[in-house]
């Protein structure tokens, strides 16, 4: 079973844990599933709202990389017009 992928034909990032940054204060961390006219579909998602005070976005991403994602949404769609950047979490980790 080594190397077997159950999800052939999906986007390159399918199944990969990503950080979705927006033009606003909200950042999403979770598994990229797919993208369509609605936006980016993510699974097992944690959300950081920089306008709510607390830790910075960088600190949130760093903690997610070290301790894992504290998920608040099983499935979430980030509207396409809000997506500023999508980066693999592994690439943003220190």
């Amino acid at each position: 079973m080594s190397g077997h992928v159950f999800h052939p034909g999906h986007a390159e990032l399918h199944g990969i844990t990503v950080v979705v940054e927006t033009d606003g204060p909200v950042t999403y961390v979770g598994r990229y599933d797919s993208e369509d006219e609605q936006g980016v579909h993510m699974l097992d998602v944690g959300v950081h709202d920089g306008s709510a005070g607390g830790s910075s976005k960088d600190e949130y991403v760093r903690k997610s990389a070290k301790f894992g994602i504290k998920t608040s949404h099983k499935h979430l769609v980030v509207p396409a017009d809000q997506v500023a950047r999508i980066t693999r979490l592994a690439e943003m980790a220190p």
Partner: protein, 143 residues
Amino acid sequence: MPYNPALVAPMRAEMTRMGARELTSAAEVDAAIGDQKGSMLIFVNSVCGCAAGNARPALAMALQHSVVPQQVVTVFAGQDLDAVARARQYFGEYQPSSPSIALLRDGEVVHFVHRHQIEGRSPQAVAADLTSAFDRFFGAAVE
């Protein structure tokens, strides 16, 4: 809902072939991890080929290293639900992900490999990270 047992049987067998002991109930997890002394690796298995398909061979490679954990156990996410839930209680502040790999020393997590540290990487690269962790946390200097 768990996958068909026949589908996951080869993934279970891949683990036991490399010497991992399967823990399929909460009681088995407690017996293995509670009061655990020495070094232990817990592999949280998964059906998702995106990451687990590389994680299992990576672990098999890493276990050929000169320094390895004294015990290797595995629970199967999405299959043995009670066992996985109980194992995660031992992981402290580390959030659930699967596949994932926890290194424990005397029952405390000393290193954790999340799914995102496995995805999209070759088994060789993941194995290299694991053997480095084995040396760091289980090597002679820390015995």
